[in-house]
Amino acid sequence: MSSGTVALSSPTRRRRLRLGRVEPLVWIAPAVAIVVFVFGYSMFELVRTSLRFDGQWTTDNFRVAWTDPTFRTALGHNARLLIAVPILVATSLLLSILLFEGLRGWRFHRWALFLPYVLAIPVIGVVFGQLLQLNGLVNQLLRVVGLGGLAQDWLGQPQWALWTMTAVIVWRELGFGIVLFLARLLSVPSDIFEAGRIDGARFFRLHRRITIPQLTGVIVFYVIVEAITMVSWVFNYVYVMTNGQGGPGDATQVTELYIYQMAFQYQSPEIAAAAAATLFAATLVLIAIFFRIQRKSGVGLDE
């Protein structure tokens, strides 16, 4: 009888032991499988598609994309959108410091300033599309304050459309920076600031000497996130505010829209893949540059 129990329990024990080795792999397997499919398979296929045409290996797709004036325009526009990054950093720095000063009603202001970041970009795009029309509310407001001469079709003028788009993007992305910086400030021991105040440092001096150094880590993080956004996450704004055209003309054409149009309107997945691979490489270069700068300046993201 007793030998029976041993016989019954030993396989279980052995199985448990065996599982011990591979057990973590069982836990992570579903996640790894999905990620390998969505990212691994796609990135592999992307490179393959971009290097093939008519069943032949070729680099022609890249040549076609890179010499396409529309693609160059699109890349140039993404580069121009990067101007939004310093504007975002400076503005959200100022506003988060003002919130941190603890003025009356700062909680309400925090709520209001963060709200745009919660709204969907398509919703924002449609609302701003209405506001920025020739007879829209923005122009009416300008006329009321006597600046009617500035009134114009903000999204319809080729020389202004991309700047208008930049302003809308800043309007939304600002909330993220403010909340990020404020959260960091609130976690800094308050005696650091008290010491500065007792020393009699006034607003600008205090914040330049004490606050901004405390924020360096999150500022770098924010710059990276926003730079990536400007280069590879602006499709929604452009698509919604220009009815999927990137217009007027190609005044707001961006790389993502180019990829989308190449793949789904002009039926050239190979060119789209080459453009996408280029975009991805550009993103990686951007990240590498930032990490270099970050290492040089000796700033960690997690400090």
Partner: protein
Amino acid sequence: MSSARRVAGTISQHALLIIASAMALFPVYVMVTAAFKTQASFLDHPWAPVADPSLDGFRAALNDQFPRWFGNTVVLSSSSVVVTLLVAALAGWGFAHWAFRGRDYVLGVLVALMVVPPVVLLVPLFVFGVRIGQISTFRLVILIYVGLMLPFSVFMLTNFFRTIPASLIEAAVIDGASSWRVFRRIVLPLSAAPLITLGVVNLLWVWNELLIALVFLQDDSKKTLMVGITGFQSRYSLNVPAIMAGLTLATLPIVIVYLFGQRFFVRGLVAGAVKGE
């Protein structure tokens, strides 16, 4: 002198904040008030608060395909967020509890994947979808959404699980609890806050996602809110209240979540920047 200057300073600080908040709220104000106006009253008094609320805009929006889009978005976002949380929690526990070979490497790759722009994945996934005949199905889109949300979700949960005191786990293991039981009875109950945070942040992302929905859900009966309202504006160009009513309804669920769970939003967004929070 200094007190006068200080008062002037405080006033200008207040003024700056008020202007900034007004600019942040203005489009939202226009959206919500216009939704309750008629086209005529909107054209006459675009800024004015609503004097005589009209529900015509909402009626027009609701008579359109709006309810179906809304339903599609609810189904898509709730199921992909639930699946993501489940899969990410399992993986997070796998990464946090066992130190296996290659773990840090795999985690590093996951973190790096957060920066891959979705548009890069679009073409190959679409070709794949066509090949297996799954365009305009929720299944494939949910799978893609889950995949896109997983890197951040796993990263965040792994960081949180690592903060669970080892003594709690060891005590249970000594009592003979299996690792599944430890996970169910100890890890998950302690993780309510990060799971809610992650759920809220992911929900926000899926609810507002446009690109993938646009490409993969082409059938009219499968369109999501965001795809729907993008086409809405051209069809109702002469009925601004109907557009704004549609937008208001599309935004409402997210704003409600935001009103009650602001701290979860904040925590989730900051989690990427500040490790282990």
